[in-house]
Amino acid sequence: MSNNVLIEAKNLSKEYIRGKKEVVMAVNDVDLQIPKGKLVMVTGPSGSGKSTLLNILSGLDKPSEGKVLYEDENIAEWDEEKLATFRRGNVGFIFQNWELIRIMTALENIESPLYPLKIKSKEIRMRAISLLKQVGLWDKADNYPDELSGGEQQRIGIARALVGKPRIIFADEPTGNLDQDNAASIMRLLKSFTKRDTSVLVVTHNEDLKRYADTTHRMSSGRFV
C-alpha cells in the first residue's frame, strides 16, 4: 500500500438475499483507494450500491468478501467494540438527513462525539466553538436543530463530523435534501477541509458534484464502470 493511501478496499463484495432466494450483489468486486487529504466521490443511480460501499468502508457494515485495509489492518475482521473505538478516533460521518440529535443544541451536537473521550469539557467547548465559527453559524450556537434550516443543519453536521479531528469523513448524499446554492456551499466547505489532510468520501447520485472531487468513480449495479 502506498504511503499516501489512507483506506484501501480490495475485491469488496456484499450480497443480500432479497425475497426468497434472489441474491442481490449490492457491491460486486470493487477496488478503491482513498488517498490522504483527497476528496473521493462515488456517483451512480439510486440502488447502485453506493451506501452499501460507504457503510463497509466506514466499518458500519461487514463485506461478504474482500478486505478493507486501514494502515495494513483489515478492519472487516474487527468486532463491534473495536470498530467503535476505531470510528471514535478516526472517522466522521455526514448523513443525508443530517441526523442531528433533537435534544441537543447546535453547539452540543457538535461536541457530542467528544463526550466519551478523555478530553476536558473546556477544551471540547473551545473546539466546538471554533468549528461553529468556521461553518459560519456562531450566532446559532444555542438553537435546537428544529430551529435551523436544512442548510444550517447540514453545516452543523459537518462541524460535528470534524470535531474529533478525523482522518476521514464519510458523507452519504450530503446535499441530497438541499437546494443548489446550499449544496454548493456544503461541498466547498467539505473541499476546504481536505487541505488539512482530512480525506473525504462522498457518495451521491448527483453528477453535478463531480467538479468538487479529486477522484470520481461511477457505480452501476454494484460495480465501478
Binding site: 458500519l60 457494515d61 467494540e81 467503535a84 441526523e99 463526550y115 466519551p116 478523555k118 474529533g164
Partner: protein, 396 residues
Amino acid sequence: MGTYKILLKSIVFSTRSRRRFFTFVIVFSILSGATIILLSYFDNFSREGLLEHRGVIYEASTLGSVTYDDAQGDIDPGTLGAEAVIYYKYVNFGTNLRICSIDTKYKWGFSEIKPNDLVAGNFPSGDRDALVSDQLLLLLLDAQAPVNIYTKPVVGTKFRLGRSDDTEFELRISGIFKKPESPSLIADDTREWIFIPEASFEDLLSSQNLNYDDSSDLIFIHSVSIIASGDVFSGVSYNNVDAIAANLGNLPGYDSPDFKSKTDKDEQRNMMFLSLIFGIFGTFMVSTLYSYLITRFRRREVAVLKAMGYSKMNVRIVVLSEILVVAITGFVIGLLVIQGFLWNPLGRQSSYIYLIIMSPTAFLSFLAVVISCIPGFILITTRILAVRPIEIFRQK
C-alpha cells in the same frame, strides 16, 4: 472521565424532551407516593400500629390498682399460646418519681410511649439506658430519691438515682420522649416517669437494699401486653388476638381492652394491598412502559451515537440516565408532597410518622422504586444495544 461526562450530559439532555419528561415525572411521583404510603404501613405495623394488630393490652385502670404479683396470677402465658407477655412494672421512687420497666425487644409493645414519641436520642437498648420526659427539669433534688439533674435533659447525660448515697445507681439518658396527652396514666400522674430496660429495673431494685415485696414498697404494673403469634398479613395474628381476648375477657383492676373490629382490620389490609398494586406494581409497569418508549423514541439518536463511535457502555449510560433521572425526580416530588401532608401546620406531629424524609420508609421506598425499574433497564439495554445504525439509516 469520559463516562462521567456522558452521565452528566445525559442527565441534562434527559430533561429536554419536555413533554415526555414532565408527564412521566408526574406519573412517577404519584406512584412513588403510593409506594411510600404502602411502606409506611409496613413501618407502622412493625412499630406502634403493630400492637393493635398483634397484641392485647391490659392497662391498669388506675395507678396502684394491680401489683406485679397479682398480674402474674391473672395471666398465665402458658395456656394463652402467646408469643410474649410483657409486664410494664413500676415502683415509686421517692415522692416525685416513678421508675418503669420497658421491653427492648418489643419496642412498640408499650401502649403509652412509642418509638415515635421520641423527640431526641434513641429508645433504650443498652442496660443502663434511660428514657426520660422532655419535662424532666421539673424534677429536682428529692430528699428521699436524689436525682442529680438540674437542667433540661440532654441525650448522653449520666445521672444517678438512689435512696441513699451508697446505693446510687448510674443511668444514661439515651432518649427523650414527648409526654403523652391526657387521658393517660403517665400524663395524669403528678410524678415524673423514667423508663429503663427490664434488666436494669431488676438491678436497680436490688441495689436499693429494699424489699419491694413489702406492703409499703410494692411493684405495680402499668399494663400488660400479650403479643399473639402469627403474622399480620395473612391475618393469623388477628385470629390469635381474638382467641386471647376471648380466653381472658375483662379482668378486675384493668380497663377493658380495646379491640379493632374485624371490618376495621380488613379495611386496613385492603388499603395495604391497594397501595401495593398502585405503588410497587404500578412503578414496575410504568417504568417498563417508559423504557419501551425510550427505546422507540431514541433509536435514531442511538444509531447516530453508535456510528460516531460510542461504545455499548456509553450508549447504555445515555439512555439509562433518562429513566433514572425521571424516576428519582418523581420519587423526590412524591416524598415532598407526602411530607407536606403529614406536616401539621401547628407544628405538632400528626400520625405516627412525622418526618418521613428521614425515615427508613423513605429509604425502602427509594429502593423499591429502583428495583421496580430493573426490568425496564434490562429492556432498554437489550433493545438499544441491538440497534444497528445501517438499518436505522435505511429507514427514512
